[in-house]
Amino acid sequence: MSPQAPTAAPPRPPLGVSSPLIETVGVGKTYGGFRALEDVSIAVRAGEFVSIVGPNGAGKTTLVNLLTGLLVPSKGAVYFKGRNIAGAGPVTLATQGMARTFQLVQIFPELTVAETIAAAVVTRQGKRWRLLLPLVQDGEIATRVAAIAGMFGLASRLATLSRLLSQGEKKLLDVASAFALDPQVILLDEPTSGVSTAEKHAVMTTLVGAARAAGVQAIILVEHDMDLVAAYSHRIIALSEGRVLADLPPDEFFADPVIIETVVGKRRGVSC
C-alpha cells in the first residue's frame, strides 16, 4: 500500500473562485493488465450534489478509492482543493476536509455513540496528540458531540455501546461520525444499502439536511437507486467500462435512452 510516485502528473490547474473542490484530470488506473479506469476527468464544485452511477464493474469503487486518496492513479492526477492527493491516504484527507461513509456499515463495536463521534471531533479540533487531558473534561468536544448526535437523532443513545445499536442506528452513527469531521466534501458510498425501499428517502433527507446544517459544500453520492439519484442530484456522472459515459444534469441524463439503457439495463441484467 506504499504510495508510488504518480506518473507524469499534469500541471496543477489554477485555483480560482469557481475552481472545483475536487477534480480528476485524465485519470487512468490499471491493475496488472486490467484497465479499471481510463481517461476520467470529472470535477465537483462547491454547492454541488453529484451522483456517480454505473453498472457493476464500471469502475465506481476504483474512482471512489482514487477520490479518497487511497489509490494512486496510474495516469493523470486527482486534486482536492487544488492539491494533488495521489495516495495521500485517508488520514490526510480527513484532516483536510474530506469524509466518506461506507457501503457496509462501519462502527467501533466497543465504543459508545459519544466516543465514536468524539473520535472524529478530536481529529477536527486537532487534539489527537493530547495524551494527558481527559476527554470528559473537554467541554468543547462534548458540545460538538452532542450537537452532531442531535442532528442524527442519536442524542438519547450517547452512552450506548455501538454494537448494541439497531442496524439503522449503526448506519446513522457511521454517517454522523463522518459529518463530525466538518468536511467540505463528503462521499456517500451507497448510503441506503440495506435500508428498506420505503425508508430510503427518509434516510437521504436526513443526510442532506444534516449536510446543509453542517456546512458541507459538496456531496458525492455513489448509488444504484435511480429514484434517489434523480431526486437529489444536480449532476449525474455515469461510468461504463472504466470511462465517463455521461456527465449531465438529471433532466438531460434521463432524457437519453442510450445512457439509461447502459446504466440501468445492464444493472438489471446483473442483479436479477
Binding site: L111, E115, T116, T123, W129, L132, D138, S177, A178
Partner: protein
C-alpha cells in the same frame, strides 16, 4: 456515581497496601515488591493489548531491559541514585521500543505476536550467549541503591525492601497508574481504542493508525523497563530468564487473569498471581500444574478476568439489595 464508587474502592485498596508493612510480617511486604514491578509493566502492556488490540508475546524483553539497565548503571558504572536508574531505564525502553515498534506495528494479530516473540528470543540469545558482556546465564548483579538520596545504611537488604523500598514502589506504582489513567482517557486513548475496534474506519476519521500503535508500543516499553528496574533491585540480579518467552507468557497470564478489558484488571491479575504463586509454592512443588489449570479455567469461563467477575458480582448483589433501583431503571 459509579466512578466515585470505583475511586472509593481503589482508595481502600491503596490504604490496605500501605498498611501491609505495618500490620503484616515483613515477609509479605517483601513478597509484594515484585507485584509493583509487574503492576507498572502491565499497565503499559495493557495499553498495547487492551487498548490498542496488539498482543505482544515478547514483552518481557522490556522488563529485562530495565533490570539490565540497573545492572549496568549501578553495578558497572557505580551510579548510586535509583532515580537516575529509573530515568535511564525509561529512556532505554523508549529507545529500544521505537525501532522494534516501527517494525512490529505494521502487523496485527498473530504476526505481531510472533514478531515480538522473536525480538524477545533474540534478546535472550544475546544475553545468554555473550557472557563476557552480560554474564551469560548467571546474569549481572544489581547492587542496592539510594532512594531519594537516602542510603538507609541502618537497614539490611531485607528491611530495605520490606520498608522504604516498599513505599517507594507503592508510590511509583500509584503515579504510573494515574498517568496511565490520564492517557487512556485522553483523546489519544480514544483514538487508540477506535483503531483497535476498526482500523479502516478509524483512518477515515483521521486516526493515524501506525503512528498511534507505535506511540502505544513506546509507552508500554517505557513502563516495562521501569517495572523491570524494580524486579532487578529486589532480586539484586538481572538474568536472561527475565526475557525468556515463558516470562512474556506470564505477563499475558496476569493480564488475562485480572481482565484486560478493565483499566485495573492487569494490576489485579499481578496481585492475584503473586499471592497465588507464593501460596501454591509453599503448598506443593507442583504449583505450575495448579496455576496452568487456573489459567485454563479463567480463559474458558472468565474471559473478562477477575475484574469482570467483580463487576458482575457487584451488579448481581447490587440488584438484589436494591430491587427498587433496578425496577426504576427498567421503567425509565
Amino acid at each position: 456515581m459509579k466512578q466515585g464508587y470505583a475511586l472509593f474502592l481503589v482508595a481502600i485498596a491503596a490504604g490496605a497496601l500501605a498498611l501491609v508493612p505495618v500490620l503484616a510480617p515483613p515477609f509479605y511486604a517483601n513478597l509484594l515488591v515484585p507485584f509493583y514491578g509487574y503492576a507498572i509493566a502491565l499497565l503499559g502492556f495493557n495499553l498495547l493489548f487492551g487498548y490498542a488490540g496488539l498482543l505482544s508475546f515478547g514483552h518481557a524483553l522490556f522488563l529485562g531491559l530495565g533490570a539490565y539497565t540497573a545492572a549496568v548503571l549501578a553495578g558497572l558504572w557505580g551510579v548510586k541514585e535509583f532515580e537516575v536508574v529509573l530515568l535511564a531505564a525509561a529512556l532505554a525502553g523508549l529507545i529500544l521500543a521505537l525501532p522494534l515498534g516501527w517494525l512490529a506495528v505494521r502487523y496485527r494479530g498473530i504476526f505481531f505476536g510472533m514478531l515480538t516473540l522473536a525480538f524477545g528470543m533474540l534478546a535472550h540469545a544475546v544475553l545468554f550467549k555473550f557472557y563476557h558482556l552480560t554474564g551469560g546465564d548467571s546474569g549481572m548483579r544489581v547492587p542496592r541503591m539510594h532512594l531519594l538520596g537516602l542510603e538507609f545504611a541502618a537497614y539490611n537488604k531485607f528491611e530495605l525492601l520490606a520498608g522504604p523500598f516498599y513505599y517507594y514502589c507503592l508510590i511509583l506504582c500509584g503515579l504510573a497508574a494515574f498517568l496511565m489513567w490520564r492517557i487512556v482517557h485522553s483523546p489519544f486513548g480514544l483514538h487508540l481504542r477506535s483503531l483497535r475496534d476498526n482500523a479502516q474506519k478509524a483512518a477515515y476519521l483521521g486516526v493515524h493508525v501506525h503512528q498511534f500503535r507505535l506511540a502505544a508500543f513506546a509507552i508500554s516499553g517505557i513502563y516495562g523497563a521501569v517495572g523491570g528496574t524494580i524486579l532487578g533491585f529486589r532480586t539484586g540480579l538481572a538474568d536472561p530468564e527475565l526475557v525468556y518467552w515463558t516470562h512474556s507468557g506470564h505477563l499475558v497470564f496476569m493480564t488475562v487473569l485480572g481482565g484486560f478489558s478493565s483499566f485495573l484488571g492487569p494490576v489485579i491479575g499481578a496481585l492475584a498471581l503473586t499471592l497465588l504463586q507464593d501460596q501454591l509454592q509453599s503448598l506443593t512443588q507442583y504449583w505450575r500444574l495448579v496455576l496452568g489449570a487456573i489459567l485454563a479455567l479463567v480463559v474458558i469461563f472468565l474471559p473478562r478476568g477477575l475484574a469482570g467477575l467483580a463487576v458482575d458480582l457487584g451488579l448481581f448483589f447490587g440488584r438484589r439489595s436494591a430491587p427498587s433501583a433496578a425496577s426504576t431503571t427498567e421503567t425509565a
